[in-house]
């Protein structure tokens, strides 16, 4: 058994509980004593993607996979999907509505921030077919106990 995987449910439109899945991921990583800067990067990516699901998506899940050489964070939802992924990756581009902006979200920083904090990011999405975001964080080696 080399990989450990655990996933957490994300409820769309639930702004009160938004962030819980990321906090769970963070606590898991803390108990395994990863480098605190790495945990912070994963947590930021987790939270940004979780908020995207909460704001735009329907229901979704956040899963963490711990492997000996990398961490994989995968977020999937059954929401409206992204029409133009290249456009969505641009800083400042946002499809958030006024309600989201009132709560302080929707600055168009989410995906760029995820790209900045992860080593690899892959987005699979089509209009009305949900979205899967997969982010990889490489471990320089030696962090993990078998």
């Amino acid at each position: 058994m080399s990989k450990f995987k655990k996933s957490f449910h994300i409820r769309g439109r639930d702004f009160i509980r938004a962030g819980e899945a990321s906090i769970n991921v963070q606590n898991l990583l803390k108990s395994m004593d990863f480098d605190s800067r790495l945990i912070r990067r994963v947590a930021i990516c987790g939270y940004e993607s979780e908020m995207n699901v909460v704001m735009h998506g329907g229901d979704g899940s956040l899963s963490l996979e711990v492997d000996t050489d990398k961490l994989i964070l995968e977020i999937s939802d059954d929401g409206p999907g992204i029409e133009d992924i290249d456009l969505a990756m641009q800083t400042g581009y946002s499809t958030a509505n006024d309600d989201h902006r009132e709560m302080g979200f929707g600055a168009g920083m989410g995906l760029p921030n995820m790209k900045k904090n992860s080593d690899q990011i892959r987005i699979e999405s089509n209009k009305d077919q949900g979205t899967v975001v997969r982010m990889i964080f490489f471990l320089p080696g030696g962090e993990i106990r078998q």
């Binding site: 058994m1 450990f4 963070q26 898991l28 395994m32 004593d33 939270y47």
Partner: protein, 436 residues
Amino acid sequence: MSKKKSSTCFVRFDEALCTGCGSCMRVCPTTAIRIKKKKSIRIVDQCVGCGECIRVCPESAVSAATEDLGVFEKDHVAIALVSPVLYAQFPGVMPKDVLLGLRQMGFQHTIDMSYFLEIFQYATEEFIKRNRKSPKAPWPLISPVCPVVVRLIAFRFPNLLPNVLPVLRPVALMAREVKSRLTPEYSEKGKDVVLYYINPCPTKRDPTCLSSRQRPLSNEIALGINDIYPELIKHVEQIEAADAIPFYHTRFEYETCATGNASMWAMSGGEIADMDIDRSLAVSGMEETISYLEKIELGLFQDIEYIEFRTCREGCLGGVLNAIDKYLAKSAVQKMIKRFGLGRRLHRDNILRMYAKGEFRSEKKPAKLTSLFGAQKEALSIDSMHKIEKVMEVIKGTDCTACGAPDCRTFAEDVVRGNAALKECLFIAARTSKKG
């Protein structure tokens, strides 16, 4: 395996009174408590001294590890270092009369904290002003005033240690002043000096001691407000009834004077209300504090400059060692603010000159704080994570706590770490006995 005992350096435990009900176990923010053989035991290094177990124990089996008033003898010079929360315990009484009461009890000096609270406020404002432009400053800064918050961060949120404001806590400034001005005078005359910290919570026994691993000094004693209250109220009532109040000679301003500004510190928000900071927040209560710290770790609240955290609800006047109810105390504080108004006595320029010399800088670097607390638990491997998940699947529990752990996840971890046996779970025991 971590050391387990019934008492820690912050709380004292009376095993004879414990019924093993588990109330304390369920509220412990660091899951340091287990019930074994119907008695509660504590993982000593995990205790952060919040006092929640004292608050909830229905049998009063848990108490603060403060000293008894019995140790208060007259063979030494006794100096009282008074938390402003003490004044809130006497609605309608002037702070100076409370201090007078302490002097009648036998304290040669009573040191009021308001002077040092002001120094702290000026130093904090200056630190934030100077660091505002630096993108390297870890926003939001977190108030170092509540020692439980600092320990909680070191234990559960070590990523946030750099966010703790590196300015000496008011109580540390107060202790430093007394030790450098008053103590040497008496030492020259060959007299012993003992400092008595009069506190609303079990945690502030020694202002410089943040970790349970540091030994407290023998000439510094912590008293709970509720330890001295019965004796003190007698003196205060006499003073209130007297026509002529006896005159006591005092040499320092901070021996007698309290301000509205200082009394406000007892309430949640009292630290930041009068501070010259653009964006600040005050959060109180254990659950709320943890929830905010979790969010700060996720990268939220970076637009806030300073957050005042108090793990007790309503702030320090909600501390477990207070004598009167927190809402009555709050009302007393509000009356005091109305009477005295807000405003500082010290001059900013004087404080800033001292600031420039680095006199208020806390030398406790994040790395040092981490080392004081150390690694409380051995890191879990991928293999152990799998085992924990497996145990969770076998238990299919409801967090019933009957096993003596606060929740199923903690129990599963205990099992995998070899600190508990699977059969201690009632669900599993019931299923095996059915099969058998």
